[in-house]
Structure formats: structure tokens, C-alpha cells
């Protein structure tokens, strides 16, 4: 297991908090809460060691433009592929913006 941390510039704070996915085989859990200071922080806990460069590349592609709402994100990953990771993150943002604060 490996822990990784990231920070990216971001837009206005996210509207709500949400959790998507479960720590199932090949899946991940994304916890998203509104963040402050025009910054998104991401704390990753992954079951697969040695993929730091892949995580950096993937998260830079998603957050690098700084256009997404500012959020505090926690990722608990159980060997998800980059595509699944990206979809779960996008799902979390979509839910946070639409439900505005559940659960």
C-alpha cells in the first residue's frame, strides 16, 4: 500500500460533499468535500505500489487546467485502472454540484 498527496489550482469551492464508488477489487472510493483557497488537495491511498508517475499524469490531466471547483479529495483505491479513477472523480464532481451536500 502506498500513500500519495497532490495539490492543484482550482476555481470556486465545490457546492457539496459526496462519496462515490467502493473499495472493491478494481474499484475505488472518492470522497469529495468543498475546498478553500482556490486549491484542490488530493490524498491517495492505493493498494498498488510504484504507480506514482501514473497517478501524477492522470491527476494532472484531470486537474491541471485548474477549471474544476476547489475540493478536498480523498481517494481509497483498490487497483482501479486510470479510466475508472477518472470516471469516479468526474462522477463525484457531478454529484457534488447537483446534490449540493449529500450524504
Amino acid at each position: 500500500m502506498e500513500r500519495l498527496e497532490f495539490a492543484f489550482g482550482a476555481a470556486q469551492p465545490a457546492l457539496g460533499r459526496t462519496v462515490t464508488g467502493v473499495v472493491a477489487s478494481g474499484d475505488l472510493e472518492v470522497l469529495l468535500e468543498p475546498g478553500g483557497g482556490g486549491q484542490t488537495t488530493i490524498a491517495v491511498q492505493t493498494s498498488v505500489d510504484g504507480y506514482g508517475a501514473t497517478w501524477t499524469a492522470l491527476l494532472e490531466r484531470v486537474f491541471g487546467a485548474g477549471a474544476l471547483p476547489a475540493a478536498r479529495i480523498e481517494i481509497n483505491d483498490n487497483g482501479a485502472t486510470p479510466g475508472v479513477v477518472r470516471m469516479r472523480i468526474e462522477q463525484a464532481f457531478e454529484e457534488a454540484q447537483s446534490t449540493g451536500g449529500k450524504p
Binding site: 500500500m1 462519496v19 467502493v22 472510493e29 470522497l31 491511498q45 493498494s47
Partner: protein, 291 residues
């Protein structure tokens, strides 16, 4: 129970099995009444898994949802089978036991509160050993406490099923609802094969496993009260119908003498077969069940 597949129904249905634990809990309760207790953002997760290099889940694989079901105060305890096989650790177990203890207290204070437990579990989480076992014991005594006032309904939809100490907890429930995909047993097939040999139980023989421990068989032999299709509306309607029946006159776990008498009739010299078990247990069930 028919094995024929109704294509129209199949296309229309909203699978319960495919839902996550959180989604299952939300589907059972009245819309707009659901409140999650000790949720993912309370960050009460297992302190033991990370020490063993395993990734934790923020809710430790248990969702506690309080709300109403057809207007009645209800607490749903949903186990996430996809996380660590739905295993019961210290935190997840304490969430279930604590919620049931609060439900019992509410009942004593004049708020009739009923409970649903969604069993999707292999039993104790081996990484948390005795703490998980202690939690399961607490869950079991809390079920027995709550069921004096209002029914505690167990549901196992699959595909993990319900095993180990949690199968005993399922046996203590006022009513138990299974799907055809669910399995209920004290020991899982691989454990039996490992301990007693392949001649005793072939864990690769799916027909044998579902024939003896599947939802259809368990309902036919009186160890479950209903076998329903993997359909959210049907699961919910069945749970609501059983709640409406109220607390059973005699709980299944109070009918041990009937079940022991049936067990004595089982011929252990030969490999158990589904039909033979039904002949023995099905008959006992009809005698023992006033409904």
C-alpha cells in the same frame, strides 16, 4: 418458484444485487427520510487494516441509514459485500450493534423502531480477529433485544451471501429474505472442502452449492421466509409485508427442537441432496409454521 425467465420482467427490473450498500439502504427507505449515521465523512474507519497494508474504506463497509419505511421509523444496516468480502471488523460491527442498541432503546422509550440488516458477508474479518468476533456477538444480542419489540428483518441478496457468525445473526432475525442468487451457510464451500475433503463438499460444484445453500432451497426448507427475484421493488415490498405481520409468535431460533429433530433424520452416510433435505426440512417447516 419457477426457473422460467420472464424476459419483460427481466428488462424492467431494477436489480438490488447490483446496488452498492448505500444505494440499497436508500432504496428501502421512504424517499426524503434517509439520514446516514456515522457516515463516510465522520471518518470512523478501521484502524487495523492500514497496519496490515490494506486500503481502508471510509465507512468500514457498513452503512447505517435511519429513516422511515411506509411511514414507520426504521434503521437499515447495509453491509458492503464488495469491500473485504463484507467482513465484520471492529468498526463496522460496532456500527451495526450500536444502531440496533439505539433502536432497542427507542422502542423502550415508546418509539416503535424496526430494523433491516442487509447481510452480504463472509463473517468475521480475519485481520481483526477477536474484535470482529466480539462485534458479531454484540450484533446477535442486540438483534434478540430489538426483536422483542419490532421485527428485525434480514435480507441477503447476493452475490456474496451470508456466512460465518453473521449467518447465526441472520438466523436470529424475525424474518429472513433471500434471492435465488444468495447463499446462506455457517461455513462457506471452500472452508468445508478444505476441512472435510472434496468427497464431503466440492466447492467448484455450483449446482451443489446453490442446491443446498441457495436462497430457493433455504426458503423451501424453512430456514428463510421468502425467496424473491433480484428486483428492488420486490425486495422492498416483501420487507414491508413482513414488517406488517409484526413480531412472529415464535422466532425461528426458538424452534430449535423442530430443527434438531429434522437434522437427526438426515443420513450423513451419503452426500446430501437438495430434494432429500427438502423432504425432511420442508415437512418440519409446514408443521412448525402457523402461517
Amino acid at each position: 418458484m419457477t426457473t422460467e425467465i420472464d424476459i419483460e420482467q427481466l428488462l424492467r427490473r431494477d436489480s438490488f444485487i447490483e446496488r452498492s450498500a448505500r444505494s440499497r439502504a436508500q432504496a428501502l427507505l421512504d424517499p426524503g427520510t434517509v439520514r446516514e449515521l456515522v457516515g463516510p465523512f465522520d471518518r470512523v474507519s478501521s484502524p487495523w487494516l492500514a497496519l496490515q497494508n490494506l486500503v481502508t474504506q471510509s465507512d468500514d463497509g457498513v452503512v447505517v441509514a435511519k429513516g422511515r419505511l411506509d411511514g414507520q421509523p426504521t434503521v437499515v444496516l447495509a453491509i458492503e459485500g464488495a469491500f473485504q468480502g463484507g467482513s465484520m471488523g471492529e468498526v463496522g460491527g460496532a456500527k451495526i450493534a450500536g444502531a440496533l442498541e439505539l433502536a432497542a432503546r427507542d422502542n423502550r422509550r415508546g418509539i416503535p423502531t424496526q430494523a433491516v440488516i442487509l447481510f452480504e458477508t463472509g463473517g468475521v474479518r480475519l485481520q481483526e480477529a477477536n474484535l470482529g468476533l466480539a462485534a458479531i456477538a454484540e450484533i446477535q444480542s442486540a438483534i434478540v433485544d430489538v426483536r422483542r419489540y419490532r421485527p428485525v428483518i434480514g435480507v441477503s441478496a447476493g452475490t456474496v451471501g451470508c456466512y460465518g457468525g453473521m449467518s447465526i445473526a441472520a438466523g436470529l432475525c424475525s424474518y429472513l429474505v433471500l434471492t435465488r442468487e444468495a447463499r446462506l451457510g455457517l461455513n462457506g464451500p471452500q472452508v468445508i472442502e478444505q476441512e472435510a475433503g472434496i468427497a464431503e463438499f466440492d466447492s467448484r460444484n455450483r449446482a451443489l452449492i446453490w442446491g443446498l445453500t441457495g436462497g430457493e432451497q433455504r426458503a423451501a426448507t424453512g430456514l428463510a421466509d421468502a425467496c424473491v427475484a433480484d428486483d428492488t421493488a420486490e425486495v422492498r415490498a416483501t420487507v414491508a409485508r413482513l414488517f406488517a405481520q409484526g413480531v412472529p409468535a415464535r422466532h425461528r431460533s426458538e424452534r430449535t427442537s423442530e430443527f434438531l429433530a429434522a437434522l437427526e433424520q438426515v443420513d450423513t452416510e451419503t452426500q446430501a441432496a437438495a430434494a432429500a433435505v427438502r423432504a425432511i426440512y420442508g415437512e418440519k417447516q409446514r408443521q412448525g409454521d402457523p402461517a
